[in-house]
Subunit: 235 residues, 2 copies
DNA sequence: AAGCCAGTTATGTATTACAAATAGAAGCCG
DNA sequence: CGGCTTCTATTTGTAATACATAACTGGCTT
């Protein structure tokens, strides 16, 4: 999983290449990129393709181009930290520990609030979707199936909040955490231990009990965190 | 304030124009855009400029291009809801009420958690920045100065969390809420009433009391919400 | 009827040429 | 000599053109 990131287009590849280099720190903020003509030649692409890629990076806040001055890497405060690509590049480049910490912190922030909101606003169809995901988790016999159902569960909860900003934030965080998350779940004997937690969340949402749902989700996420920590120490 | 969004470049204008149309619903998801050649002619720009704009919109998840098939508007679930531009377009187009609701919900989610994290992890320099912002608020004599200092206060708190994901999320939300926020603050006699709230948050962060900081911030944001609601009803 | 094949049509890429902005050097003037 | 203007060189911005490539369509073949 973790998104194959198969890029069909040439400029897409260039975006990946340059984005990785910038976020990875190979080109420091404040530094200038080579002029377009040169860079295009170096990357073996036309200036057209290069420029299309640069517009994308520009939209992500990574670079800034001005005539005569050239193109420079912007300070990190201007980066769209919540962009899926930027996040992915950071995951690929950073000494994971403290960055995962930050991602987990975000998750612990979102999910309990989402569970509460879902308990307040869910409709029957959305509840059914959560229940279906729970059933799939209970029926899972291998880590992969369980992992997939788990993700579906959380997505269904987020969807029930009726707040697409929250949904979007979650999906971004989750995508970045994906690999670690899945790892922790796939530790032998570990998978499915959190089923009771999910049950509590589900019940609270069904009964429309926001605070109960929040607490249950909080516990679940805290558990998951210590799980990841434990696994991280092993490696 | 609220970001003038002055776009120097041609393709930047095209991005704004098309983005607004798509998010505003003038071109529905699933629908195809005219072919590049036609659209370029219609917008009075070259195909080159148009394509650079389309790559940006593509990066924001709004559209998807394939050879022969053409370019179609993607379903809203694929949109980068947390992108500053997308958010701005939504603000400009939507019947504000329920959307502001969602933004406020996000803010209520972030800020208390941020205050708690700041109380836990702030260093002296960051505390000083928060204190400076507070002092500026206390000294403000007109709504504009107060508003500016207020924003600086919140930004300083976010910065003290040492979690740039949180900072980034806040700045996006805040930018979108900006106009409404400022409106509510500029209601005569209203401005500066929330100073005591800010004092409580500041003190808690100074004393490194996460839970106290969280609660104080929670109250403050809840107050601000009822404020916005009250103002919204008037209009 | 099923499946293969070519032709049509959209986007994708490359190339060339010129426009516009601006940093920095050169020149001008008090 | 210092400060101002102007001029030029350089880099990105925009346009126009040509061709490559993918994929849908429809007809042909078996």
């Amino acid at each position: 999983m973790a998104k194959p990131i198969i890029v069909r287009n040439l400029h897409g590849q260039v975006v990946q290449e340059l984005g990785r280099q910038i976020v990875g720190g190979e080109i420091a903020p404040g530094e200038n990129l080579p002029r377009e003509e040169l860079l295009a030649e170096r990357l073996k692409v036309s200036r057209t393709a290069l420029r299309e890629a640069m517009k994308v990076l520009s939209a992500k806040g990574l670079i800034e181009s001005r005539q005569k001055t050239g193109t420079r890497v912007r300070d990190t405060v201007h980066w769209n930290q919540l962009d899926a690509d930027v996040l992915a590049w950071r995951c690929a480049s950073m000494p994971t520990e403290d960055f995962v910490e930050k991602l987990v912190e975000m998750r612990e922030l979102i999910e309990p609030a989402a569970a509460a909101a879902a308990a307040r606003r869910r409709n029957d169809e959305q509840l059914a979707r959560i229940e279906a995901a729970y059933a799939a988790m209970a029926a899972a016999t291998d880590p992969d199936a369980w992992s997939e159902a788990d993700l579906a569960f959380h997505e269904a909860v987020l969807h029930a909040t009726h707040n697409e900003l929250m949904t979007s934030l979650f999906s971004v965080i989750e995508a970045a955490l994906g690999s670690y998350f899945q790892l922790s779940a796939s530790i032998a004997g570990n998978f499915s231990y959190s089923l009771p937690h999910h049950k509590k969340v589900l019940d609270a949402i069904r009964r429309r009990q926001p605070e109960v749902a929040r607490e249950a989700m909080q516990k679940m996420v805290a558990d998951s965190r210590s799980n990841i920590r434990r696994h991280a120490k092993k490696t």
